[in-house]
């Protein structure tokens, strides 16, 4: 396999990797804020007493990422996708994920 052969690969695989990682980040960020809104969710995410709800917030984000990525990968491998649109959506999701983990933001929802 040489560089010229690689050039024939479509952007589908990259789009799947970028969007899946962005969704993982967004879910982690969302759960960070949602756990401040809902005490029952916070309790449900506390899979370990020593670590607290952090284990559930990050665990769900990582598990979702690991499930979503192979699905998108299988769907888009070898396909021509609108990479620009997927990339913009991904950047927005990552920005929202960051925003939702910023303490002044999620503390504003704290009960």
């Amino acid at each position: 396999m040489n560089a010229r052969t690689d050039f024939t690969k479509t952007d589908g695989v990259a789009a799947a990797a970028v969007l899946a990682s962005a969704i993982g980040v967004f879910i982690t960020g969302s759960l960070t804020t949602l756990a401040e809104i809902s005490d029952s969710l916070k309790t449900a995410l506390e899979w370990s007493g020593a670590v607290g709800p952090l284990i559930g917030k990050t665990g769900v984000g990582v598990i979702a990422w690991l499930i979503i990525w192979p699905i998108f990968h299988a769907l888009w491998r070898g396909k021509v996708v609108n990479f620009s649109a997927i990339y913009i959506v991904s950047v927005i999701l990552i920005a929202l994920g960051w925003f939702l983990t910023f303490p002044p933001v999620f503390e504003a929802f704290s009960g």
């Binding site: 560089a3 970028v18 982690t28 984000g61 503390e107």
Partner: protein
């Protein structure tokens, strides 16, 4: 010259895993930035892509080791319920509460973005290999992912270092 078990893990988490990730970023970024067919010969691209793949996966693995050791080993000591734990000490004093409510709360969540994004970036570099030198749009997208991973890790690393100064885990 001795260290407690807790100090050892705190150093390993922050000074070894975290610092290797942050230091390696500059090299990886520069390599990816200049990976353009117009700037490098075909053999040069092939030689560079091998180093880039090794570097990107090293960074992704370091990022995973950092968050896993931080969350599952060091963090329980930090947030222990006893009055002498770093969290308890910070919250007991109004002048230091923000170190926990802002610094630690942000660090513990945003730090997890680094391994997810770094893994995606490493995978894309591995999959597309030398063709990234031709795919300018894709190369730029990887640079952005890679930079956000770095920024996430930098926030976590900065607050980790400051928190360990204000309320060390001992």
């Amino acid at each position: 010259m001795t260290m407690t078990e807790r100090e050892f893990w705190t150093v390993l988490h922050g000074m070894v895993f975290g610092t290797v990730f942050l230091l390696a970023f500059t090299g990886g970024f520069a390599c990816l930035w200049s990976l353009k067919r117009v700037l490098i010969t075909e053999p040069g691209i092939k030689e560079r892509i091998k180093r880039l793949i090794i570097g990107m996966w090293t960074m992704a693995i370091m990022a995973w080791l950092t968050v896993i050791s931080g969350t599952y080993i060091v963090y329980p000591w930090y947030r222990a319920g006893d009055p002498g734990s770093p969290r308890s000490l910070l919250l007991a004093n109004p002048d230091t509460q923000a170190w926990h409510t802002f610094g630690m709360e942000w660090k513990e969540h945003v730090g997890w973005f680094a391994p997810i994004l770094a893994t995606a970036a490493a995978f894309i570099v591995t999959y597309y290999g030398a063709s990234l030198a031709e795919k300018n749009r894709l190369r730029k997208a990887v640079l952005v992912l890679f930079t956000i991973a770095f920024a996430s890790s930098a926030v976590a690393g900065l607050f980790g270092a400051l928190l360990n100064k204000v309320a060390p885990i001992q």
